[in-house]
Assembly symmetry: C2
Homo-oligomer: 125 residues x 2
DNA sequence: CCGCTATGGTCACCGTAGGAGACCAACTCA
DNA sequence: TGAGTTGGTCTCCTACGGTGACCATAGCGG
């Protein structure tokens, strides 16, 4: 059980700040972006190329959100063409481990879940 | 034969099964539902009442998905009115820890993130 | 000099995922 | 008779996210 006795924060209530945070960090793109940035800083276009399927809009939007959350730092180099580097902040780095655990779980249980799907779909058909 | 060997296990490719799984388990409602079910089995209406803000549609839909993934077991008791119990499967229980870590992170960093927001919004205004 | 490329965006458009609320079956109890 | 309970489904309709066009700047090829 997840007890939140110390604070009055109840994750299951809509007014809980932590619940909104959970939405953000559990977001599909956030997980992948933090994953890439774990290997070190990256440029906008590197992220876009690495994360297959992300639209430019969502990449911009998600990075802005992460910057606002204080999880990612954005540095603009006024060269031509302009270069922009993104890197995890210290707080961002504390998120690496939980997200990595989730990724590990996904990779480890990939097969078992596909099996479950097969069973379920077979029974239901 | 569809092999999901090491080659296709690149989370950053759209065809990676684990990436879809990550989408599912990182989902806002999934995290909360698994959280509640960590305390033991629960009925449909108990879940709905506990997780403030979830629509009946999304609760049904998410539970069906979790059942299909083999993470949640659904038992129907043919009483009147019908009673339906949901509980974590063994595989579902292995997901508790990673998700709990994420929840812990959210609760622990709640304040620092709100601070970051204030700073960001103040600078940008 | 013209056009093409690259970078890091923004903007308008549009389809779909998700929220709100009505409705349902079957039975109980006042 | 009619209201209540339980676990849904169905029909809207809005808002989020994907697609593609466009922008400034400048280097480089022809």
């Amino acid at each position: 059980m997840v007890t939140t006795s110390a604070t009055s924060s109840d994750l299951y209530r809509t007014d809980c700040a932590a619940r909104q945070i959970l939405d953000r960090v559990g977001d599909r793109w956030t997980v992948l972006i933090i994953g890439v940035l774990s290997d070190g800083s990256a440029r906008f276009s590197q992220l876009r190329r690495r994360i297959e399927g992300i639209s430019q809009k969502m990449l911009t939007q998600t990075l802005r959100g992460l910057e606002r959350d204080g999880l990612v730092h954005r540095t603009v180099f006024p060269e031509v063409p302009v270069r922009v580097e993104y890197e995890l902040t210290q707080m961002g780095r504390t998120l690496e481990e939980p997200l990595r655990a989730l990724q590990r779980w996904a990779l480890e249980n990939e097969d078992r879940i596909e099996e479950a799907h097969a069973t379920y779909d077979h029974r239901a058909q």
